[in-house]
């Protein structure tokens, strides 16, 4: 590691420690020393690092009916499924419509209309249809990811360089070979570029689904809503931190995948 990177890392750690320490300290000072419950910054609303850690350890222990692990797993599972199904269906739809002017013209208004509908408004309907389980969350994540991938792939399939197709034809490619060797790779480059936003939006979709999904759907969104019901800021913070960690890990993982898949691009070339 270079000195520069070490310095950056040191600063980052310092900021983290400072924020946590200030949080812990400020939520411990009473505004008027004798009156209970009056704080400069009230831990009732934002909890305290020590309390959050305590709740985290408790929720990790087998003493609770639904551990934080189970909830996190449920969230991750739905996110990954919604992501994968969204990517594949979005890719196929984008490719087909991108290469067929007729179909694109017919479907265009429906796609635009459906896409401009805020997806959150669909949550109750999706819950009504698919119930309170995993499936509703997957469908919700899918409905967001699908459009991100669809629009990107559609654009990619439309903007395939005509001269690449021509040169393939001169090299003896059949129509099917042009599809597999020129159009699909060109479009995939655009699809891959939509992976990072897709995974973040899949996670958003799942958490929103969990907000109203109830206990059978489980997940960290459920923990958040439950904590709201019991006015438990510590549990809510636990859920937020775990969600944040999941989001970071997923985003980093996808970045790796993207760098591998798009390794031929100038920005991924080693200098």
């Amino acid at each position: 590691m270079t000195r520069e990177r070490l310095r950056v890392l040191a600063w980052q750690l310092l900021i983290l420690v400072a924020v946590l320490a200030a949080w812990q300290y400020l939520t411990g000072i009473k505004a008027i020393s004798k009156t209970p419950g009056l704080y400069w910054i009230d831990p009732f609303f934002i909890s305290r690092p020590s309390a959050i850690l305590e709740r985290l350890l408790y929720l990790m222990s087998p003493r609770v009916r639904l551990t934080i692990w189970q909830m996190a797993l449920s969230t991750v599972q739905s996110t990954v499924w919604g992501f994968l199904v969204g990517i594949s269906t979005g890719f196929v739809a984008g490719l087909v419509l991108g290469r067929s002017d007729g179909l694109a013209r017919i479907f265009q208004p429906y796609i635009v209309a459906f896409n401009s509908l805020p997806r959150i408004a669909l949550v109750p309907l999706i819950t009504m249809i698919f119930g309170f389980g995993l499936l509703a969350k997957i469908v919700l994540a899918w409905s967001i990811v699908f459009f991100i991938v669809f629009f990107n792939t559609f654009q990619g399939a439309r903007s395939v360089d005509a001269d690449l197709i021509h040169s393939a034809r001169f090299l003896g490619a059949s129509e099917r070979q042009i599809m597999t060797s020129v159009i699909v790779p060109s479009a995939l480059a655009w699809t891959f570029a939509s992976l990072t936003p897709s995974i973040s939006f899949a996670l958003i979709g799942v958490v929103v689904g969990e907000f109203i999904g109830g206990e059978s759907g489980g997940g960290l969104g459920y923990l958040i809503i439950q904590s709201l019901g019991t006015l438990n800021a510590a549990d809510m913070m636990v859920a937020l931190f775990v969600l944040g960690a999941i989001g970071i890990v997923m985003a980093l993982g996808i970045k790796q995948v993207e760098a591998r898949l798009l390794r031929w691009r100038p920005e991924y070339q080693k200098r």
Binding site: D163, A168, F170, L171, G172, S181, R265
Partner: protein, 262 residues
Amino acid sequence: MTPRVRVSIRDLAKTFGQGPREVRAVSPVSFDVHEREFVAIVGPSGCGKSTILNMIGGLVPPSGGEIVVDGQRVTGAPPPQVGYVFQKDTVFPWRTVERNIALGLEYRNVPAEERAARVRQAIALAGLQGFEDAFPATLSGGMRQRVALMRSLVVDPEILLMDEPFGALDTHTKLNLHAELLEIWQAKRQTVIFVTHDLSEAITLADRIVVMTRRPGRIKLIYDVKLPRPRDVIRIRESDEYSREYSEVWHALGEEFRAVAP
């Protein structure tokens, strides 16, 4: 005995657009290209020389006249014995050098072993050893165009159409590629139709030069280059014949460059 005609262009014309926006790109032109012949088409930009090449390749339908390649009229799809090198960079960015050159062989289902051998040979011929696994993004423009050239040549096209393939390269790289192209051509003697606006390039490479007028392009003159072969691309420029031929064609071409429409 004159060698057989491979590409015959008869009263070929092209008009783009319709009505008041109609643009006549190519006035009827006719010429033949023979077996083993290297023909260059030269003219001011916009004279329709690339359009003629695109019509020969079946990429653009003619508005009038016809193109006959080996006795077959060209309609739509490119004739199978024809290869094409574009001016634009058409190397597939997601394929390595090796896999780019292998493209045509893959399309033709050439067995893997033979494919590897032919690709290796092509890479050696183009001096691309050590770059087999490199992606095009890491290569210079000259190297990318070398890959494109070898990709076209590896499938052994009998007729090669080249549309200003070295137009975007610097003089030095261009001269190197001229030498390589001539060496390859000297060995295989493909029929080549080479479009360029660079007269010295045309004289260096070609047996015959078709000089076009401004738009709508007509044939101004067809000039036989008498320089002996094999040619040394550097030395040839210092010879008196070269200078004489250059000034003869330049005189005809210069009239076209000067006569800019008001």
